[in-house]
Structure formats: C-alpha cells, structure tokens
C-alpha cells in the first residue's frame, strides 16, 4: 500500500487501526452460530402474508374478506379500511425526507404488480396462502404505463392522483421530482469544442439480491410496547416511520436489528415493518412476515432504471470543455429515494471532471413498475456508465489515450468541487474541497498492475478477441450536514469496554472497523471492546448504514466518544499515580507514564467504580460537515467471442483510495464484492417484465448473477491517502468500486471489437447485434 499524504507527525504506529484484525463477529459466522432475524421466534408466532396485486394499475373497488376470515386458523385480514391512512415515504432518510410522501400502509389503489392489496395473519404458511386465495377483490383495472417518456406524455394514466400525497413535483405528468444544476456555461463550452460526442445510454433495473430476504417479526411486550425485530439498515428511521404510519407513539416502539444477511441499499427502507406491526396490533400476537425469493424480487426495491443522454465536448488537444447530462429515471410506483438517487447520478459523477462546464437535468418519473429505491452506488453506477463511456468514446474519436484524456481533465488535490458549490448555491448540500487525494496513484498503480501500456498487443485475430478498458470513479462519504451518528462507550470493572452505537453492520464489517477505532483511541486490544448495535432502546441514534457513511460518520462519533472516555481514564489514572494527565498515555490495555509507572485498565476501573463511585462513560454525537470522496481507477481485460457475443472478463484490477484503511482485508473484501456486483450489472443481471408489467424472472433460475466460475482474476490495490476530517484519516469504500466495472467492460469491448455498446446489460445477444452478426 502507498500512503500518499502523510498523516500528522504525532501519529505513532497504530496498534489496531490499519491492521487486518479478525472480525469481532467472525468466529460465530464461520461456526454458523450467528443469529439472524428468522433464527429466533417468540412463542405463539403467527405468519403474516401480503396479498399483492396481479394488475399494474387498478382501483380497489371492493375487497371481500369474509371467506378468508372464515377459514380456521386465520386471525385477521386487513384492508385499507382497517388501518390509518397516513401519507409517508418508506425511504430511510433523515427527516424531513426529500422523497415524496406518496405511500400508504394500505391504499385504495394499486400501482404495480405486487403492490399491497391486503394483509393476512394465520397460524401457519399454508393457511396464510389459502387465506390469500380466498380474498375476493373487485379491481377497476386502469391503463398502465411503463416507459418514463410515455408516463410524462399528455394523456398518460396518472399514478398519484390522491390529494393527500405531498412532495410530488407534478402529479398530473407523473413527475415525482426534477433537478437541475449548472457549472459554468455548457452551451458556450460545447460551441467552442473541436469535437462533440453525443450518445444515449440505457441502464436496467437490477436487484440487490441480498441472500437474506426481507424479514421482520413484531410483537407486543408485557408493557404493550411494540417490539420490532427486523433485517434493516436503518433501525432509527424505521422507528420514526412506524410511529407516523401506525399513529403509534414513537417512544413505545422498539426496533432491534440483529445480524443481517446483506442489505446493499435494499434495506434502507421501511419495507415490511409497517405491515407486520399492523397485524400485531390487530391480533395482539407475534407476527412474522418473510418474503420468499419471488416476493423479494417483485415486492421490495430495485435499482433505478435510467436513460442518460450525454453530450461531451473537447478541444483537439484533450481539454474537455463541457459535459451535458440529461437523465430520465424510472422510479417505479412510488418515489422513495427517487430524487436523491437520480440527483446523485449527476452530483456524484460530474465532479470528476472539475474544470469543464457541466450541466445536469433529471426527470424522476413514476411508472407502474416495481418500486426503485436505494441500491449500492445510489445513482452513481448509472451516471458513471454513461460518463466514463462517453469520455472513452471521445478519446477514441480524438485519437487520444483514454487514460491520458482522463488524467488531463480529472479533479485534482485541493480543488473545490464546483458541482457541490453549485448545489450549495441552490440550497442543496454543502461545498466540499478535496483534502485527501489518491486518484493519481490509483491510476498509476492500476495501470501498472493491469498492463495498460501493452493493451494494444492483446490478441485480436480469430473469433476470440481481447481488449482492455478503464473507468475512473468517485463517490462521497455520507451526506454533509445531514448524516450523523452517536456512540457511547463504558468501562467495565475488568477493563473491558461496551461500545454501544446506532451504526448498523450489514456484514460490511462495520462493527469491527468501529471497534478498531475505539480500541486505537483507548489504547486497548480489539478483544477488549464488546460492540452492541443496534437497538433503538439501548443505543444512541445513528442514521444507519447508507451513503458510505459508517466509517466516516459513525467512526467519527465513536472516536470522539472514546476520546471522552479516555480522558476520564487518564483523569482517574492521574489521581491514582499523582502524575498529571498530559504525561500519561493509554496503550497496551494500560495507562503508562514516562516515569515507568503504569496501571492496568482493570485497576483504573476498579478504582473508578468502587472508590470514586463513578462510571467511566464517554459519549458523542457527530454530524459530518464534509463528504470527502473516495476515488477509484478500475481496469477490465475482456475476451469477446465474436461468434457468440459472449463477453468474459479475464482480469479486473481495482485501485481504490479510501483514505486510511481501518481494516485492510475488510476493505479489500468490500471492493471485491462491489466488483462482482458491477460485473453482474454490466453483463447479465436484468429485471425483465411482460407487457402487463409482471416480472418474468423473479427467481435465481432466470435472474442471472455472477458465480465464482464467472469471476475474473481480481487484483485489489488499496491506495491509502490521509483524510484530515476522517477518523484516523479514513473516508469510505463500500460503494465506489461498484461504479467502474460496467464502463470499464464496455470500454474494453470497444477496444477489442471497435464496437461501442450503450445499453446494459451487455448480453451476448446485444453484442452479436452490435457486431452485425445477427
């Protein structure tokens, strides 16, 4: 690893941070002992199921539940008549959420195949299924619309004609939201360009496919409080959304997040919790709702499908003068995350070429498709596919090295991100300046590792041709001024610590990384930190795991809480040793002084608790004021079979600057997982629908994902920089490597065959058509 910017001279060799220590939860994971949501059932658990609409757009004229209720073993059937009608967003975002309040627990209308019609609680699965079959619904079928362009057109069916919904830009045109920003004068920039390349890129809806589906268990405790055990990324947002949707006092709701089997943004929502809780409130029984895989595909969330028009202009010498990006985004039946994802398609990508004039416009449109929501990368993968393909094509047409063209125009260390400045001027977000910068090193190391210089020598005759492509990427680390977290850490008599925090580990290793930050600050070994997260009753608030925020946001909170606790420890030690605190330091599970006298933490804890009668406890809240971008340079070497159109990725190199890598092996694991997801997005994953909006492939037989035997040889280079505002210099890593694979592969195909594909996924059929073979 290369450190680009030196950390402050006062930083000594780290004991914990920067080391690939085994995960704090690792042993129980490999023993198969980790406890996920469905692994513990309260006594008397009852099964909840959701009746999903068979039609993409319909009014529910009448729902007859009598036959279902008459079935023995059915405890209740709920329709919109039985629950509060409260407009809300299901998006897990800070309040007030920027998403439209256009969703209802149960509505009088359905807007996609799978939308909620009714809820059932029954003693077991079979009875619940039978009850669903017995619910008689009189649907007034309405015309449906599936293309955003069609949905915007005059005369299109209106999805959200209900008056109670708010936050919709123009409901009569199915326009959920719109955003514009401009840096400099794009029209002038395009006019003075020697060459303008224009193209339209189309990206598809894909799904997170967390191995653990959405699942929730709700029950009433002996105090009649509503308890919710759920696979979620956002326990505190869920609590608040439940309070609103159920009209139930927030303080009487407890949301517990156990071990999670993957999230990737799909669980940055209130997806099932309100339905399950409604059944518990109606029956007063513990209820579980767990999606099967087909429900998981259709009735949870997807990535936003988009159409992106890009115009990019440059001088012959390689100065990019202007970039214009116009996006049409399909947010599906409800607007959750619609504007924030689609806005990010511009605001997270266009900063990369910071000296060009740039303009962005997006329309976020309702259609009768399943609901699009947060998905790893959050609009950036879509944007980077378009941007990094466009700039690559421009390089091809100008006869310039694609990497050199990028180098010449990319954002540099110390620059102010002008896109963020333009957005701040519109009251949307805060300006950021680049204070840690590893992009140049990422390019250098990635190019070397991938053999970029020799790419033209790759074999290219015969039926199998090879090529290499590159893509650059950046992201953010949390949302400045919005994302915040809190932590508390207390000392036990034996010198061990309990770290309690709202930060949510989805399998990302957050518990471990944050414990390492605490351990480093407190001068203790990792095994002295017991992590507890997240339970809304027992831990301090945190917005949750999204926007690549845990290390940077929650990590900063943990660091400050640990510093406060450390100062208390030093205070006690100072009193015990008679040495001033400035001459003491925490290290190796002890407090040491320069005179050689030292105390163990157990001794200090014993004194604090049994003599001073005080609990050493540090706590802190931290809201980020910045959102430093991680950077990536990703290289794909592909082989295209020009007679079948099959694209094989042979090698993939990722060079990623995440600031300080708190736990290098975990960082690598995040990068490698993101690359696999990106390759699937590029080559084979796609949600397919028939003419009635019904998903054709809601299972793993027909929704194809990358397995181990499809993965290329991957090389992961962690390029460290030092972010002064991050805990021990860290930024983030979870999303940025998802951005590069699709454009890098498209660029590699272009290099190998001369053909530019602008639609994802790049299936053998599309490749063969582009090659003119069929």
């Amino acid at each position: 690893m290369t450190t680009i910017t030196k950390p402050p001279a006062s930083a000594t060799e780290h004991e914990s941070v920067g080391r690939s220590l085994p995960k704090v939860d690792g042993e129980k994971l490999v023993r198969g002992r980790a406890v996920y949501t469905d692994d513990v059932h309260p006594d008397g658990l009852v099964i909840g199921r959701i009746l999903g609409s068979p039609h993409p757009h319909a009014r529910l004229r009448h729902i007859d539940t009598r036959e279902a209720l008459a079935l023995p073993g059915v405890l209740c059937v709920l329709t919109h008549a039985d629950v509060p009608r409260v407009p809300h967003t299901t998006a897990g975002q800070s309040h007030p959420e920027p998403s439209p309040y256009d969703a209802y627990l149960l509505d009088r209308k359905v807007r996609y195949v799978g939308d909620r019609v009714a809820l059932v609680a029954a003693v077991d699965d079979d009875t619940a299924d039978e009850a669903l079959r017995r619910i008689r619904v009189d649907y007034e079928i309405l015309p449906a619309v599936f293309e955003p362009a069609d949905a915007l057109a005059p005369g299109a069916p209106v999805l959200h004609d209900e008056t109670e919904s708010t936050g919709i830009a123009d409901r009569s045109r199915n326009l959920a939201a719109v955003l514009d920003f401009e840096v400099g004068d794009v029209d002038a920039g395009l006019a003075r360009a020697d060459l303008v390349h224009r193209d339209v890129y189309r990206v598809q809806a894909v799904q997170h496919v967390s191995l653990e589906p959405h699942v929730v268990i709700t029950w009433l405790d002996e105090d009649d409080r509503l308890l919710v055990r759920t696979s979620t990324q956002v326990p505190f947002h869920v609590r608040r959304l439940l309070a609103r949707t159920l009209q139930f006092p927030l303080g009487r709701i407890r949301v517990m997040k156990p071990r999670i089997g993957g999230g990737f943004g799909g669980k940055q929502e209130m997806t099932l919790e309100d339905a399950c809780a409604a059944l518990t409130l109606a029956t007063r029984q513990p209820v579980k709702i767990e999606y099967d895989r087909s429900e998981e595909f259709v009735m949870s969330r997807t990535r936003h499908a988009m159409q992106l028009e890009v115009a990019i202009g440059a001088k012959r010498d390689g100065e990019i003068t202007a970039i214009d990006m116009r996006v049409l985004s399909d947010t599906g039946a409800y607007g959750t995350h619609g504007i924030t994802v689609t806005g990010s398609t511009g605001s997270k990508t266009l900063p990369l070429y910071n000296r060009a004039a740039r303009r962005f416009h997006c329309d976020v449109v309702y259609t009768n498709h399943p609901i699009a929501g947060a998905c790893r990368g959050y609009g950036a993968p879509q944007g980077f596919f378009a941007l990094e393909s466009a700039i690559d094509e421009l390089a091809c047409q100008l006869g310039l090295d694609p990497l050199e063209l990028r180098r010449r125009n990319m954002i540099r260390d110390g620059e102010v991100d002008l896109v963020s400045a333009a957005l701040e001027a519109k009251g949307k977000g805060w300006t950021r300046r680049i204070q840690s910068y590893g992009l140049e090193a990422c390019i250098e190391q990635g190019a070397r590792a991938s053999g970029w210089e020799k790419r033209d020598a790759l074999p290219r005759d015969g039926e199998l041709v090879r090529g290499m492509g590159v893509a650059l990427a950046m992201q953010s680390s949390g949302v400045a001024g919005v994302d915040w977290g809190a932590a508390a850490i207390k000392l036990n008599e034996d010198g061990s610590w309990n770290l309690s925090m709202g930060a949510t580990d989805l399998g990302t290793g957050a518990d471990t990384a944050l414990a390492q930050i605490a351990a480093e600050t407190l001068g203790v070994s990792l095994d002295r930190i017991l992590v507890y997260a997240a339970d809304t009753d027992l831990v301090p608030y945190d917005v949750g795991a999204y926007a690549s925020s845990i290390t940077y946001v929650s990590g900063n909170a943990v660091r400050r809480a640990a510093e406060e606790a450390r100062d208390q420890v030093l205070g006690v030690a100072s009193r015990l040793l008679g040495i001033s605190a400035e001459r003491l330091r925490c290290s190796g599970n002890r407090v040491e002084s320069d005179s050689g006298r030292s105390l163990s933490l157990a001794e200090i804890a014993d004194h604090a608790m049994h003599r001073e009668m005080t609990q050493i406890l540090g706590r802190a809240s931290f809201c980020i004021r910045d959102s430093p971008p991680p950077f990536a340079a990703q290289f794909a070497e592909v082989e295209v079979d020009t007679e079948t159109g099959r694209v094989r990725v042979l090698r993939f190199v990722s060079a990623v600057d995440c600031g300080t890598a708190i736990n290098p092996l975990q960082v690598e694991g995040q990068i490698e997982g993101a690359v696999a997801m990106g390759i699937g997005y590029a080559l084979c994953e796609e949600m397919l629908y028939d003419e009635s909006g019904r998903m054709l492939n809601p299972n793993l037989v027909d929704y194809k994902m990358i397995h181990a035997d499809d993965m290329p040889a991957v090389q992961t280079l962690v390029v460290e920089s030092y972010e002064p505002t991050g805990p021990f210099g860290a930024k983030s890593v979870a999303e940025v490597p998802t951005n590069g694979p699709a454009p890098a592969i498209a660029n590699a195909i272009r290099h190998a065959t001369g053909v530019r594909l602008t639609q994802l996924p790049m299936t053998p059929d599309r490749v063969l058509r582009a090659l003119g073979k069929i």
Partner: protein
C-alpha cells in the same frame, strides 16, 4: 422420542441422524429437508432461493452434498445429515480457521453452505483444481468470491502439506 408419542394430524414420522445424533421428527408430507432442519433448530441452514440455484441451504446427506431446499424431508428417511454445526469441535475446523484468517465471511449468510461445499469437494478430491473450487463454490453477494477462494486454497495447501505430497 418414544414410539407411543402422539403423531399430530397431518404429520408423519421421519427418522434422521443429524450431526451424529438420532432423531425422530414429525413432518408434513410436503416439507423439504430445509423446512425440517430449520424448524427443529439447525438455523445455520439458510433459506435463500429455494430453486437449487444458490447452494446456501447445502447439507451433506449420506456424505453427498445436496440442496436441502430441493430434497423432500421424507426422501431423507433413515439417512445421515450433516450441517456446518458439525464442522467444529471446541476448536475450529482448519477450513473455518482459514475463512476467519482471510476475512472471507462478510454477512455470513452463505457461509454454512459454502463451508460444507468446499469441505465436501476437498474431502472427495483433495487436489481439486482452481476451476473445480470455483465450480462448486456457492452463490455469494458480498465477497466477490475472492477471499473465500483464497481461504479454500490455503486449506487445500494445508491438506497437501499434511499428506506430505509436495
């Protein structure tokens, strides 16, 4: 369970050895082996795709690696089932240790199936190739397969060392 135990309506008895211990369960005709194992407490066996595409529900049945979601419980009558709980004693199995060392478990949901499938492959073919490992490895959404493969390679090399065949 005694033979006079009352059989609940709609259920039939199923005898199974799970991780070395004899059990008799009451199962429904349509129960999969996955349904029964989870209901009876072996929570390490995970429900993911239920179409035999992912391998997360893999168990060893009479020594053979199968998807428990696609095995009828009654098909397993009088058979021998092993889940990942049987892998470790007080000490972790070397394959588990390798996974820990390589940070190969992220969310962990695929790990039981992945450990069993890699162990089953290498028990049968200690010199299984890289291509074989990749072919048998279960679906994973978190890791991109890189560290599970690295961990399994290390385990395979450990097997070779203990055979003294290098």
């Amino acid at each position: 369970m005694s033979s006079e135990q009352h059989i609940r309506p709609g259920r039939v008895p199923l005898s199974l050895v799970v991780n070395g211990a004899h059990h008799t369960f009451q199962v429904r005709m349509q129960d999969s082996l996955l349904d029964v194992l989870r209901r009876e407490g072996w929570k390490s066996v995970k429900r993911v795709c239920e179409t035999a595409d992912c391998g997360a529900c893999s168990v060893l049945f009479d020594g053979s690696l199968v998807d428990s979601c696609s095995t009828l419980a009654l098909q397993a009558e009088a058979g021998r089932v092993e889940t990942v709980e049987a892998l470790a004693g007080t000490e972790l199995h070397p394959l588990q240790q390798a996974f820990l060392q390589h940070a190969a478990a992220q969310c962990g949901f695929c790990i039981p199936g992945m450990l069993l499938s890699m162990k089953a492959l290498l028990d049968a073919e200690p010199e299984a190739s890289e291509a074989d490992l990749r072919e048998v490895m279960t679906l994973c959404r978190c890791t991109g397969y890189a560290k599970p493969l690295a961990a399994t390679r290390q385990y395979r090399e450990g097997l070779a060392d203990s055979r003294g065949s290098r």
